[in-house]
């Protein structure tokens, strides 16, 4: 609360709520707090809220809205003191195999940066990443907090197919491809777990506001975990975030 919000229409069925154009944890917390307040307010109506770095999309589905009236409703909810206890985030420990057979671009990054592969892996897996939102592909987590020394421009020519589970670096971001797709990020490893499972009511284990930490595993462990994950019985280590 306390940010200067801007309201914009996106046609007759959606309102965009915007925070200052910055990527920050404070803004993320405020975005998620308003998301939760709006979801509590719109329990009966078919109104859906989704978040990204510094904005919320309030989607009224088939309902045609009066923009002026709706932004008054949203703004009132934003400034209301009625405390919603924010959901406590969780930190998820994600196994990643950085073996050469998966890490297609690790050699190139290593020579480009004059940094050993071991150091790249250690810098990538030491960091704690914040999940800002899920977008791009079903189950693709937008993570913040990558070590600045790992920043690598996207590939000139995207690959036509990046393997499911590929762990990659694109510019100042890192992420995991939840399914095979074309992609232009630099691949440095592979995670055997499923980031998107349509059969579950909550298809993604992580939510905006959660944290992710990667840990290196062997090729053998990757195979073992993949069997469990594909059978739906792999338990991803996680705990509540202390803050």
């Amino acid at each position: 609360m306390g940010f200067k919000l801007r309201y914009k229409s996106m046609g007759l069925h959606a309102v965009l709520v915007e925070w200052p154009a910055k990527i920050s944890q404070d803004i993320l917390k405020d975005v998620l707090l308003l998301k939760e307040k709006l979801e509590n307010f719109y329990t009966k109506e078919l109104v859906y809220v989704s978040s990204s770095y510094n904005s919320l999309l309030v989607n009224y589905g088939f309902l045609e809205i009066n923009f002026i009236d709706e932004i008054a409703v949203i703004d009132k909810i934003y400034v209301s003191q009625k405390t919603t206890i924010p959901r406590k985030g969780r930190i998820w420990k994600i196994p990643v195999c950085y073996d050469d057979c998966f890490a297609l671009d690790l050699d190139a990054i290593s020579s480009e940066k004059n940094m050993t592969k071991k150091e790249i892996i250690s810098r990538h897996s030491q960091q704690i990443y914040t999940v800002y939102f899920i977008g791009f592909l079903p189950g693709f987590l937008y993570l913040g907090g990558m070590d600045k020394l790992l920043i690598t421009p996207r590939k000139q020519t995207p690959r036509l197919e990046v393997e499911k589970g590929a762990v990659a670096i694109g510019g100042h971001q890192t992420g995991v491809y939840p399914n095979a797709s074309p992609g232009g990020w630099n691949i440095i490893g592979n995670s055997p777990i499923n980031f998107f499972d349509v059969s579950k009511e909550m298809p993604c284990f992580a939510k905006a506001g959660d944290q992710i930490q990667f840990y290196p595993i062997s090729l053998k462990a990757h195979g073992d975990i993949k069997i469990l994950a594909d059978a739906g019985v792999y338990h991803i280590k996680n705990e509540a975030i202390d803050d």
Partner: protein
């Protein structure tokens, strides 16, 4: 049941899509042209949310193993039942063993087939709309068997007597509202947007329509934010992309315009080489 003898160019099962799952990165999907799909459904007495077959450019060839009633709307693809031409926008009785096929594309681009009771394919996250990694099937293919419920009576929906106004199918006017980043466009850029005719490129599909003509662009990319079907993005090279039903949930290009729902229907019936122009609507006057 229906057996798919030929799938056509690109055919999918679609309903009104998925809403409320965008926070997981799942696209909205759903029929491209809601007006035509709803009309076909209404003719056979279905709710507008029943699943229909969306056929693109070239229709499918289908053998009915179950008696039912069908209605076809949207693009005119010269539909024939057992070799005899039938009309769009009418209820037609179909018997076991009948074969429906389509011929020459006469108008529009996407054609909808509704059957009484709807197509009974798998429902995932509240919708039957096909999408890779959401539904098991991405599209309808040859030899598919699609489940439908048998109907014995000629099921005339309550809208069966309403005439279908198909003028929008050949219209080239896209009604738009200002998008979130419209305010950053210069007077010149606005002039270009609303005076030029834009040609549909061959890079156009259910995810989005890319337009050929460029406009000068010096806008900075935005911090990745939400997009919805009908959002018009301005890329760094000055190309415009109109996002359609299967678009991603977020994007980083400035969102300069937003199509009205009716204009999404109009654009869905357009194909490569055809032209459209944008007509700005103000929110207040609507």
């Amino acid at each position: 049941m229906i057996k798919v003898l030929k799938a056509g160019f690109y055919s999918t099962i679609q309903d009104l899509g998925r809403i409320g799952v965008q926070q997981f990165g799942v696209p909205y999907s759903g029929v491209m042209d809601r007006k035509a799909a709803s009309f076909a459904n209404a003719l056979v007495g279905n709710n507008e949310g029943e699943a229909v077959l969306e056929m693109t450019m070239m229709g499918a060839q289908l053998e009915f193993k179950t008696p039912t009633c069908i209605a076809i709307s949207g693009a005119h693809m010269s539909p024939m039942l057992n070799g005899i031409l039938i009309e769009n926008n009418h209820v037609v009785r179909v018997e076991m063993g009948d074969v429906l096929r389509f011929g020459k594309l006469l108008s529009g681009f996407r054609c909808y087939l509704a059957v009484s009771g709807g197509f009974k394919t798998e429902t995932v996250m509240g919708s039957k709309s096909m999408y890779p990694n959401i539904t098991k099937a991405n599209k309808v293919v040859k030899n598919d068997i699609i489940k439908i419920e048998p109907t014995n009576r000629l099921n005339e929906g309550k809208h069966a007597k309403i005439r279908f106004n198909g003028a929008y199918i050949t219209s080239n006017v896209l009604e738009v509202f200002e998008g979130p980043e419209f305010e950053y466009l210069s007077i010149n850029q606005r002039d270009e947007l609303f005076s030029a005719l834009f040609t549909i490129s061959n890079n156009s599909n259910r995810m989005g329509y890319q337009l050929v003509e460029t406009i000068q662009n010096d806008l900075k990319p935005i911090i990745t934010g939400p997009v919805i079907p009908g959002t018009v993005q301005l890329t760094p090279s000055g190309k415009l992309i109109v996002l359609m039903r299967d678009c991603q949930t977020t994007g980083g290009y400035p969102r300069v315009l937003q199509l009205s729902e009716a204009s999404i229907n109009v654009l869905s019936q357009k194909f490569t080489g055809q032209s459209v122009f944008f007509q700005l609507k103000s929110m207040i006057s609507v």
